[in-house]
Subunit: 423 residues, 2 copies
């Protein structure tokens, strides 16, 4: 290991891998400024080094394309192996060999971490290296590392979440566009949200892997797939979604880890979620997690569950944690970089905004002037109890325009307030 | 510094401080098992060592009560100073002196971090120690550390949030219980959600401190209070809330950091939030943050913004990070503790659950039997397009009871599906 470098070998250069290469390169100067560590992509392991797009990527980002994992393992200058091959074989074997060669591993592989964490985590520990797997659950949502830090000394009573983007997309389209399950699946496949063989997603297997990893992190147990009760969404009928909606419920495929006394219930199943809850608002391919714990109470996190950029960002967060580890001893905190030369200024006033104004007119028959109407998009009369109000929605106005309008409106009655709409 | 101990001095033993003492003690055996590091509370700094409740706390948890900060600073065995005094003076001076004495600092102090981070962070770096301040923004929600890790290599376009629990509580009560601002404030004070002098909360100052810290973390700039445009909630009229609700909006006090080109807009202001959004669902004293960034897209986090237990949990997360730092070199990862002797089992079937069933009866006039009705809480007839369905809400049923009911219902027509309600 060279002193001030962090040298990376990429296993797999698909959409996530390519994005990791791009983002590491893009951020390397910034990371060097902050930490004094130079992060470099050195190898890219692929099945064939003859593929044109891989060759182009390697040339652009100046790393070595190889089809020999032995070359990577025997290179002592490599600090980190980033595994983005997916599925169990050969990914798991590659991870084992990297750990034994005392290389840190960063992976997005939920299949491997769900089923083999009990073997891999002690192995890493034994060889003095770490496995980062933030990207393995809920893509761009930080949940693996927070469960190891923020929540690790709290007592978690349950974690419930929308952990599979494909099925959430399908259920959303079935409801909003009255599609059958088959039609929504076809749409998901066309848009790239579902694989040609969608079994793992629609049968709940993918969500079950994530439930297993959440159970590991929250309860330090290593459940097997057969410990999870799994129901998928293939039997959901569009009329179920439509009827449930009439009564204020959405149907979501939920993954759940729940402690009941000394027992732990692990489940993936479609369920009825009140549309007054945060989980019900999570539509399309978005993921979400609700963590219930004794000290913190209820926490809720949502964000993209998949996609190259969000997943690569989680991979980068794990790589960054290794830089921090590497830097320890000389400085155990990222030095802040002061961006004094950037043109950050603070806006003296906000740009034009659409405002909602509530007012009581002194005289109900009084008309708005043409000048006022030029600034107003719509006017609505509202009665609350015995009082009559006007609800005015303005066009986008600058602070100055708003000031003039309010002054003019205040001559007609009393403006209770003007508030900006946020998008 | 002793080899395998992490020795803590507490500054301030109020509700958060007492909770930190309790949680550290409760978790010390577990932390020792996982990391080999013994975490100990050694001192509690208070204004008077004669107060009975402090004396009792010190005796219960076996630490030394002192009114001399010099004693703490001159004790080389102290690794960490946990500052929970609040406000700027003398807290800021205490933090400076701790850093200069090469002691790590963990603090929940937003006033200090908002205004003096530009001075404190480099000072910590210079002395080879760190400042943990996860608890300073949004209490129990992990946001400070995620912004340093998960989001730090992403480009943040905006952060918007409900950052003050007191004002969100007041606005919620004004809307839901048609209270005036003054009535809702009095209620908040009675329930302990607002201080006797509520100025900092209701005028938006507290939220502005948090906006300043978020700007530091997201953009590495150090804004001053006057760079933030601040509006509080004292002028909000209950009729505004009621009228906005009729048009599908809630009024929330939002804190916002937003990059517009090369300019940065910092703002605290009440705004109109569509009730179809996650932010609008955040009621009472809960806080929430919505982070928009280039790679991840939109992330959303919510949880308790204050309270002794959530805040103490964030303090503990920062203390735990120091253990990890201390452990580096021998083992750079928390060793997993296998809980094989605990009575965790995996439930073969779920406990009794209330189910929602959608069915089409073969014959509209056919009656449910008394046996069926015993399991059913309510029955609703629904028409969708030209089809008629029954929406049945069951009593809590075991898997076996559900199985029998479905078998019996299926003889009357076709059950489209039975799904559990989640609470």
């Amino acid at each position: 290991m060279e002193g001030k470098k962090l040298r990376i070998a990429m296993l797999g250069l698909g959409s996530v891998g390519s994005k990791v290469v791009e983002l590491v390169t893009k951020n390397s100067e910034y990371l060097y400024q902050r930490t004094g560590v130079q992060v470099e992509i050195v190898y890219g392991l692929v099945r064939s080094i003859l593929e044109e797009d891989k060759k182009k990527l390697a040339k652009n980002y100046q790393f070595q394309l190889t089809d020999s994992y032995d070359d990577i393992l025997s290179d002592d200058s490599i600090d980190v192996v980033v595994e983005l091959i997916g599925r169990v074989s050969p990914a798991k074997e590659y991870i084992v060999r990297a750990l034994k060669a005392k290389k840190h591993v960063v992976t997005a592989n939920k299949d491997v971490m769900a089923q083999y964490a009990h073997e891999l985590l002690p192995l890493a520990n034994q060889h003095g290296v770490t496995i980062g797997y933030e990207a393995s659950v809920a893509g761009g949502i930080p949940i693996v590392n927070p469960l190891k830090t923020q929540f690790s000394l709290d007592t978690i009573t349950s974690i419930r979440g929308i952990l599979n983007g494909t099925t959430n997309f399908i259920l959303t389209k079935m409801l909003n566009e009255s599609l059958s399950y088959e039609e929504a699946l076809t749409l998901a496949q066309e848009l790239g949200f579902a694989e040609s063989d969608p079994t793992n997603d629609v049968e709940g297997i993918d969500a079950a892997y994530k439930v297993m990893i959440l159970a590991q992190l929250a309860y330090h147990v290593y459940p097997k797939m057969e410990d999870v009760q799994i129901d998928g969404i293939t039997a959901i009928h569009p009329a179920q979604l439509a009827v449930a909606k009439q009564f204020g419920y959405k149907i979501k495929l939920l993954g759940e880890v729940k402690a009941i006394g000394n027992e732990l219930s692990l489940r993936v199943a479609p369920a009825l979620v009140s549309d007054q809850t945060s989980l019900a608002l999570i539509d399309n391919e978005t993921n979400a997690l609700q963590v219930n714990s004794t000290q913190i109470g209820q926490s809720f996190l949502s964000g993209p569950g998949a996609g190259a950029a969000p997943t690569a960002t989680s991979v980068l967060a794990d790589i960054q944690a290794l830089i921090e580890k590497k830097e320890l001893g000389t400085s155990n905190q990222f030095a802040p970089v002061f961006f004094e030369n950037l043109e950050f200024t603070f806006l003296a006033e906000s740009p034009a905004e659409k405002m909602g104004i509530v007012m009581k007119k002194a005289n109900a028959s009084q008309k708005f002037t043409n000048d006022q109407l030029a600034d107003i998009q719509s006017i609505h009369h509202v009665s609350i109890a015995d009082d009559a109000y006007e609800w005015l929605v303005t066009n986008p106005l600058t602070s100055e325009q708003l000031h003039d309008l309010l002054e003019s409106l205040n001559r007609m009655g009393s403006v209770l307030g003007a508030l900006p709409f946020v998008d």
